[in-house]
């Protein structure tokens, strides 16, 4: 990293901490606003959230059908004026199903990422704060899990326990997502806990958990947020992956992955059943990825351009 690439002079010590706290977020926001692709991604994401959550309700209110309403006499019609995305084999409106699927994807993505971020943050913070042998052991565990072909374990777990419901999905996905966050938070905490303001809090008798929650975690918020925004699309992707294999959300609830799976099986005749859910999935991931990239560049300029 050459000096010319750094934004602003390096700050150190406790006095600078406060100044940095304010300007860091303002700087980041300013950088994010300047990133055109990220802003387009964010606007697009908001639009999709809006459509996915309100669309099905509006359809039900106006036309009186939902994602599950079958009309066997009207099965497998290509896109037309009444059903913009066409209908599936059972005569269900594909647009409504795609929107509802998007709703599930977004919900799963956000919740699973939240679970992963929470578990990862706490685990990493405790590990980093305690340090020494405990830290060593806790990080070894992370390393071992990381080395496992974890997606296989998730598949085994879900298949064996026949637990194809949302809860087990969160557990399965959460298992995958928290490792990186834990590593990053731990690294941050390790360097933070030697700083003056933490030492000061400790010397005044503030307890360990309080120090972690009140002093340490807020100061690692930047990387946590960065990782959270990157985890959301990856969780959506994993959920869809499992649903595609028939291990995710179950019928009649249409998750995007399940819809794509249906579409792939019928694509020889009903191309629209594949093209629309697949496009929806790609657009959703595309938007979220741009937001995630933008947030990372804004909050962590040194990470720019790395994976």
């Amino acid at each position: 990293m050459t000096a010319g690439e750094q934004d602003g002079p390096p700050v150190a010590g406790q006095g600078a901490e406060l100044v940095r706290g304010v300007s860091l977020w303002q700087d980041a926001w300013a950088r994010l606003k300047r990133n055109r692709m990220a802003m387009i991604g964010a606007a697009n994401t908001l639009l999709l959230v809006f459509l996915c959550f309100l669309g099905p309700i509006a359809v039900r209110a106006v036309w009186g059908y939902g994602y599950e309403t079958q009309d066997l006499a009207y099965g497998a019609r290509p896109p037309n004026a009444e059903h913009w995305f066409g209908t599936d084999f059972f005569g269900r409106d594909l647009l409504t199903r795609v929107l509802y699927g998007g709703q599930i994807s977004l919900t799963v993505g956000l919740l699973a990422a939240t679970v992963a971020a929470t578990v990862g943050t706490l685990y990493g913070a405790v590990s980093g704060y305690l340090g020494g042998r405990v830290d060593n052991l806790m990080m070894r565990i992370v390393d071992v899990i990381y080395a496992l072909p974890y997606m296989f374990l998730v598949i085994i777990l879900i298949a064996i326990f026949q637990a194809t419901n949302l809860v087990s999905l969160f557990v399965g996905l959460g298992m995958v997502g928290w490792l990186m966050t834990a590593r990053i938070v731990r690294g941050q905490i390790l360097s933070l806990k030697e700083r003056e303001f933490v030492q000061a809090a400790r010397s005044m008798g503030v307890s360990g958990p309080t120090t972690i929650v009140r002093h340490l975690i807020p100061n690692t918020l930047g990387p946590i947020i960065v990782y959270f925004t990157l985890t959301v699309p990856s969780m959506i992707l994993q959920e869809a992956f499992l649903s595609f294999l028939g291990l995710g959300v179950q019928a009649p609830r249409p998750s995007l992955g399940a819809l794509i799976n249906d579409g792939a099986q019928h694509m020889t005749v009903f191309w629209w059943e594949l093209v629309f859910p697949a496009t929806a999935m790609a657009v959703l991931l595309f938007s979220l990825n741009f937001v995630g990239d933008g947030v990372r560049d804004a909050l962590d300029p040194q990470m720019r351009g790395r994976g």
């Binding site: 294999l245 794509i260 994976g307």
Partner: protein
């Protein structure tokens, strides 16, 4: 160096042991049995089957027997396919999986590294934005989205490549591209990032001051340092490519190992699930080891300890 590799290979054994034991516990402690699903099978027959596969023994003994068999390379018998051993199933299924995976990786590296170099050398130009937008599209096209779409377009609309099947070279193209594209995109971004790290390095300026051609500077002086992030990424990438092959083989009807895996888990085909987990894990561990050695080969400052 040799000592390092030998040490690491020996270190693989306990890791593998942990994975095997863990998986064994998870699978065997789950409710259900391979035979309960078959309705109308008399109790005596089930008991006979249990005894045949050794499921009536104490749990520790079963684990011990499994490990003992494993040590001699015997992965046991399949319950779903009684006429075939797990060894046979894996021996038949692993080569196609490996073939598709290798070509996927090759595609990812060829495309990703080239796009990344172009992006970095023409930073903030149309080429850079084009390559990186393309990479973003690639990242947003997971296998289960890209695969069916490619099959639809090239196989069922343009008729240039078979949409499914196995046996000829052209059957490899679509699965490998499907599987590799996401990683091509990641590799492109990592290469670009790595190259940007070195593009302003002092030693690259030195190379310019020597009057070397731009190609030679990229190939000899920049690529090694620039590719280090990509090499680090190779381990997880290979693991994910293996996972992804489950989906790709399903989409393109490739007779690989992937489809067996999900089915086996659903059918409680204990030994088949275990066999696949063991072979995949061992393969991944070895690949990770190779990546580590490769890393040391690229960066002489890494010390083997």
């Amino acid at each position: 160096m040799t000592r390092f590799i030998v040490g690491r290979v020996l270190g693989l054994i306990p890791t593998l042991l942990v994975i095997v034991t863990l998986s064994f516990f998870v699978i065997r402690l789950a409710p259900g049995s391979p035979f309960t699903t078959e309705r109308g099978v008399p109790k005596e027959v089930v008991e006979e089957l249990q005894a045949h596969y050794g499921f009536d023994r104490p749990f520790q003994e079963q684990l011990f027997n499994y490990l003992a068999n494993l040590a001699s390379g015997n992965l046991g018998l399949s319950t779903k396919y009684p006429q075939r051993t797990v060894n046979e199933i894996i021996a038949a299924g692993f080569p196609p999986t490996l073939l598709i995976g290798s070509f996927a990786l090759l595609w990812a590296l060829l495309f990703g590294v080239s796009a990344g170099i172009i992006g970095a050398m023409r930073q903030n130009t149309v080429f850079d934005y084009g390559a990186m937008s393309l990479a973003m599209v690639g990242i947003s096209l997971p296998t289960f989205v890209l695969g069916p779409l490619l099959a639809l377009v090239f196989g069922l609309t343009l008729y240039v490549l078979p949409p499914a099947g196995w046996g000829a070279a052209r059957h490899v193209v679509l699965p490998a591209v499907t599987l590799g594209t996401v990683y091509a995109a990641y590799v492109a971004r990592l290469t670009r990032g790595g190259m940007l790290e070195v593009v302003r390095a002092d030693f690259v300026r030195t190379a310019r001051a020597k009057g070397l051609s731009e190609q030679l500077i990229i190939w000899r002086h920049m690529l090694r340092g620039g590719l280090l992030p990509v090499v680090t990424f190779l381990g997880p990438a290979i693991a994910n490519i293996l996972v992804g092959s489950v989906v790709v083989e399903k989409i393109f009807a490739v007779p690989g190992i992937g489809p067996y895996f999900v089915d086996a888990a659903f059918n409680r085909d204990y030994f088949l699930v275990m066999g696949i987990v063991v072979v995949y894990s061992a393969f991944l561990l070895v690949m990770n080891l190779i990546v580590d050695v490769l890393y040391g080969f690229l960066d002489p400052r890494v010390r083997y300890t």
